[in-house]
Each structure stands twice: as C-alpha cells, then as structure tokens.
Amino acid sequence: MGRILLVLRLVVADVRRHPAQAAMMLASITAATAALALGISLNGATDTLYRQTRAATAGPDVVALSPGADRAATAALTPLAQASEVTAHSGPYRQYYTTLTAHGRTSRAVAQGAGATPGPVDRPLVTSGTWVRPGGVVVERGFASAMGIRVGDRVTFAGRSRPVAGIAVTTAHTIYPWAQMIGPGGGPDDYSGLVWVSEADTGALAAADLPATSLLYLKLRDPSAAEEFVDSRRAFGDEQPANFFTWGFMATQDAHILRESQPVLVIGSWLLALLAVGGVATLAAGRATRQTRRVGLLKAVGATPGTIAAVLLGEYLALALLGDALGLAIARLAAPGLANPTASLLSTAAGPTGDTVAATTLLALAVAVLTTLGPTRRALRTETVSALADTARRPGHRPRLNGLSALLPTPLLLALRLIARRPGRAVLHAWSIAVMVIGATALLMARVQTDFDYGLGSSRLGNVQSEQGHDVLLAVTVALAALAAVNIVTITWTTALEARPVMAIARTLGATPGQVTAGLSAAQLLPTLPGAALGVPFGVVLVELFSPPNVVVPSMWSLFIPALAAPLATAALTAVPARLAARRSVARTLSVETG
C-alpha cells in the first residue's frame, strides 16, 4: 500500500511539474480516441437508429410499391396483403411526385396520402405539431430540417400553398433525400423529400395529373424472413409489377448517408494516433535525460526496478487512460448528431459498445507504451552512477553528415548537426508534416469533387451526404493540423532545450544569435520538406482508395498549396521558440551545464 502511495505521489508530482507536457499528451490521445470511437460507433450506428425508429413507428417489414394510382396498381398490391406470411398491412397509399417550395427553396418531393388515423403498420411519430388534417400537411423531419421548415410555416406544392401542421419521422420510406424509393413509372428515383397530406387533399394531387406510385406496408409473421418473402414474390410475380423494399434493405440504404464520413473518421483516427505517437515520443525523448537522472536517484535510495517502472510508466498510462475516457465521452456526445445528419431517424444517445471501448483503450495504451517503453527500459538498464552523472544517452557521431555540413553556411551547418544529434526526431517531424499534408490534400480533393445539389432551379439545397463528409474531413484535418502544430512546437522546443549547451558553445565560438535562431529553425524546416513532398501523393492515393473511380484530382499547382504551406507554417511555428532559445544567456547556460 505504501509503495502504491509512493508511486502515486511521484506520478502526481511529475504531472504537476510538467503540466503543459501532460496537457499536450492528454489532448493528443483524446483527439485520437475520440476520432476512433466515432469511426467505430458510426459502423452500425444508423442501423441502431433505424431499428429504434422502426420500433417507435411500427415500421413495415416490407414496403411494396407499384407504379401508378389506378386499379391495376392496387390490384398488383392487394394480393400481397392476403399472403399467409403477412400478419398486418396498411394501405395501399398513394405517393404523388411533385416539387415543393418553402422559404425560397425548391426541392423534389413525394406527397403521400394518409388517413387521419394511421393504419396498424407504419404509424409516423409526430415530433412536433399534429398529424395531418384536411388542408394541413406533415413534413418528414429530415426534409423539414434541410428546407428549414417549421410547424406553422407554409409550403407550396402541386400549385397550392398549405400550412404545416406537424413534423414526423417514419421508417416506411428511406431517409431524406431518398424518400421516393422508386421514381415515376417505376423508374430511377431522385433526391426527394416526403410530405403527408390528408386523404381529402389527395384529390387535388390526382386532379393535377401528377405521376403517382401506390404503396402497401406489410408486417410479416417473421420479419427476419422478409428477403425470402420478397424473393418468392419476385419469382412468381411477373404479372405483378411491384417493387419491394425490405426493412433490412432500407436500413442499409439509410446507412449510405455516412458513406463518406466513416472512412474519414477511422483513417483520421489512425493518423491522429500516429501523430500522437510522434508528439508523445518527442516529449518522452526530451524528458529522457531527466528521467534517467530520476531513475538514478530512485535507485540510489533503494527503489526496486518494479517501483521505478511503475513511476515512469504510471504517468503516461494514467494520462492515456484519462485521454481515452475523454475521447469516449466526446464521441458519445457527438455520435448521435453525426450518425443522423438528416434528422430523419430518432436520435438517441447510446454509450459506446464494449468493442469501441476496447479498441480506443488499446489505442491509448499503445500510444503510451510505444512512446515510453524504450526510454523507460533504457533508464532502468542504466547504471546508477551513470544515470546520476547524466552520461547515459549520448548523441551519435555522424562524421559524413558533419563533413557535409562543413560545406554549408553557418545556419545550415548548425541545422544539419542538430539533426545529426537526434535523427529519429527529424523523422518524427517529417512524419508529422506528412500526416498534416495528407489531411490537407484530402480536404483539397474533397472540395473539388462535384456534388449534386438537391435544390431545383436556382435554389440551393445542400447535399447532406457530401456536406457531412466534408465537415467530418474538415474537423479531422483541423485536428491533424492542430496536433501537428503542437508536435512541431514540441520538437522545436525539445531540440532547443537539448541543444542549449551546443548552441551556447557555438555562440562562444562566434556564432551570432541570428545564426543560432536560423540554425534551430532550419533544423525543423529541413525535415519538413520530405514530409510535405510525401504527404501530397499519399493524400491523393488515400482519397482515391476510398472514392468512386471518377474522382477529380485538383491541378498540380493547387495540390502543392499544402506542401508549400507546411514549410511556411513550420517557419512561423519555430521562429518564436528558436528565437527564445537563441537569446538565452550563454554564460548562464554554460554555468548550468557546469553545475
């Protein structure tokens, strides 16, 4: 117990002594685990929301559609209601293909006739206002959200303006913007919203000679046998011009809305995790000398290797688990909105699944262990005297690079020799830049893709699927850029701190503060160049892997915008820490080193 208390006390003391480093690690791991948790949560999230909404609205197991509103269409559907597998049905209803205008926006819509009291199958859940009444329409919630329609507003379709009595959700139609399910005459469907009108009002729609489709909602004895039911009807139903939508098919179709978001989140989470590894590894390496001395002190006072390992790893593991918890909490809050961008389904906040928790925890612990195990093992293996004397980890000697740097101007000479001190850090820096540029390139590519607009005529009605994908990509890219920026500043500052004695010696020998500043900045800029150069093609390839074959690649010059921006951003980010480091008193630095 005493030992645990001691470990806890030492861990807390270390976190208090380095709050900025702890915050940086926490932020990195939180971002990575939140993105991963969201990415995993989206897998099947729509399905869950669909099931919940279906249960709340007595959704059909099968929707049968027959083009037209005449007797032939009805005749094609009515025998289905008599099938032995069917336990209940509603309809046939008619949906009329029209255009709807509200708030200056025009969209395709299907207006479906509905009774004052819904049938046993499909009872749309009114989320605001009331159900249909003569003269008053109900708008499907996803459609209403996209058009900005509220209860009491007026919408115009089929040449008449009608008040909105209510807003409702259903699972008898696929979500906005796929409410048509089939197009006029059984043809291909178009982006469309759904409104319900009273049976009394359908007369006006029929009179307007609008194309129509008849729908029948079926409840089966065994919902899991919906596909078999449909297959059997298709096999013998040549004379029945009916289309079928099973509940499983509709759930899959609804999930399509997240097609662009999910890979972005999952891939983004891995990129974020790799950035976190880079950042935390830099932190750990920067602290390695102090940690080694600390290990020496602990060994000197009789701490066992187990206690020392617990102290060294404890802080990182605790921060990793805290970051994991924060990431999961963020994902839980963001998931409902992200999984249901159209608002067509009921949103319920469900906690992360066991798989999600396991995956994010594994990721967080991997970041902590991968970045700290090496320094911890090295520190533990160092002899006590060496650890106390701070001679445990000497930079490597690289004569070729030193020889090459001798040919260069002083700032580049200093920069190359700084890189030669810790080449692994330069690789981490290049990696951070590459990841940031991959994100920026993906964002750039997403921006140049042509999206179908749902609006008709001159009105604009955003493409929910693409907008969601773009928003997620933007969020991931911003997170990547922020983490990369933190990494760059961390690497610069760690390099500057470690190089203080060397830079002080250089200044004693005649290097000017300007040359030292330029050298420190150049040491960060040089790895930026290969990182930026690799990031662009990797970004393009990554987008192409997850895009349709006809993906549009932006012009070469625009692709190099992120590659050019990266060195500029690095120069800006490193200027201040480099300048601060170069301004430090030489005498003070050397005195500290002597001390």
Binding site: R394, N402, I505, A506, R507, L509, G510, A587, L590
Partner: protein, 246 residues
C-alpha cells in the same frame, strides 16, 4: 591596443544581479589592464566574481556599468551579433567543464570555430590537424570527447580556443576538473602559448596554477584586493615550481 600596450582593458566594471535588498555585486568597480603577451591569473575563493569577470571580458555577459576594451575597441556596448563576430576572431575560451560538443570528434570540435569564421572545410581540417599535433593529440583526432581523458579533453578545448588565433585566451578554472598530471600538461601548453606571445587570462582558485602566471590579481567580493607581478618563475621547470612529479 591603447598607448600603454594593453590588449584588454576594463574600467569601472560592475555586474549586478537582483535588485533592492537582494542586490548582489558580482563584480564591483574593477579596473584592469592586460598588456599583450601577458599571462594574468585571477584568483580568489569560490563566488568572488572571477568567472563573471572573465565572462564580461569576453563579451559573454554585459556589464551593469563600466567599460571593456579589446584591442582599442570598446566592446561592452556592441550588439550581440557584433560580439559574436568579435569572439570568433579575437577571443578564445577554455572552460573548467571543457564544453566540447559531445557528438563531434576532437578534430571536428577544433574545426568548428574555423568553419564558423567562414573558412573552407579544407582550411579548417588543416588548422585542426596542426593544433591537435601541437597539443599532442594528433593520434586522438577521431576520438569523441567521452573517449578522451579529462586532460586530453581540456587540451582539445585549448586547441579549439586557439583555432582562430585569438588576441586573448580566457580560461575559466582550466585545471579545476583535472588530476595532477593532466594539470601539468595543460600548464605546459599555456606556458608554450605565453612563450609564443599569446595573451592569457586564467581564472583559478589554485595558487599553484596562479604561480605560473606573469601577474596575479586576487579578488574578493567582486573587487581586486591584490595585484602582484611575479618574476623569474619560468627559470625552473614547471614541475619544480608546482611541486609536481613530471
């Protein structure tokens, strides 16, 4: 150099740390003239301000008041950049802790100031080889600092300090970390440099080291309390003088 032949001068030199009641005068109204070719030893107990004085004379720190002149040029008011350039050409430093760049070999350490002065890599290599030969470490040129003994490291540091043929060589406790034999090696080197006309200012708390100088100033609480010119010390062997076994 001024009309008295002093290559290094200080007038009313003060260095203060802190303020109010916590004010400490590390160097307090020091006047100093170091003629060209003189070997000056500054002695005194720890914390008397002798290292600070050396930093002020070499432009590593700025005085709170007073003036520092090097070769007839006032340097205390120079910009950091100008001071750096001045150090490049005119001042060589040797420190107690050696302050060699760990990841550079002995030769690369000596080359560094030559390269910083803008000379070619070939010239830097040649000069480094020459100096390492002179300090007796030609066969250790490729060794990294931690592969060398303390005395060898300090000899590399002296070679590096001499790389650009400075007007003055400032040494801060150059034998402080060395054993007796290594101390003797270093003092021999200083003796050779003095014989070649090199101006040296050596800060030391070791009276035996001070005894090898032309002149010894003693410091206490930031001021000079004694200024003694020694004569005839070079007549005997260094070992004899210091009571050291060669």
């Amino acid at each position: 150099m001024n009309e008295f032949g002093a290559v290094l001068q200080a007038r009313g030199l003060c260095k203060e740390h802190g303020q109010g009641q916590g004010l400490v005068r590390a160097v307090d109204e020091v006047d100093l003239d170091v003629p060209a070719g003189q070997m000056l030893a500054v002695t005194g107990p720890s914390g008397c301000g002798k290292s600070t004085l050396l930093h002020l004379l070499g432009g590593l720190e700025r005085p709170s008041r007073g003036e520092v002149w090097l070769a007839g040029r006032r340097i205390d008011a120079l910009s950091e950049r100008a001071l750096a350039r001045l150090r490049r050409r005119s001042v060589g430093f040797v420190f107690q802790a050696f302050h060699l760049v760990e990841e550079l070999s002995a030769r690369e350490n000596v080359e560094l100031p030559v390269l910083l002065a803008g000379r070619s890599p070939r010239a830097a290599k040649r000069r480094a080889a020459q100096l390492l030969e002179r300090v007796g470490l030609a066969d250790r040129a490729r060794h990294l600092p931690w592969e060398l003994s303390g005395g060898q490291r300090q000899r590399v540091a002296i070679a590096r300090a001499m790389a650009n043929e400075p007007l003055v060589l400032l040494a801060d406790e150059p034998t402080g970390n060395l054993d007796t034999v290594a101390t003797l090696d270093v003092l021999r080197l200083f003796e050779e440099l003095r014989a070649a006309g090199q101006t040296l200012v050596i800060v030391t708390h070791d009276e035996r080291v001070a005894a090898t100088a032309d002149r010894v100033v003693s410091m206490r609480d930031g001021t000079f309390v004694d200024d003694t010119r020694l004569a005839g010390h070079a007549t005997g062997g260094l070992g004899d003088l210091l009571g050291l076994e060669d």
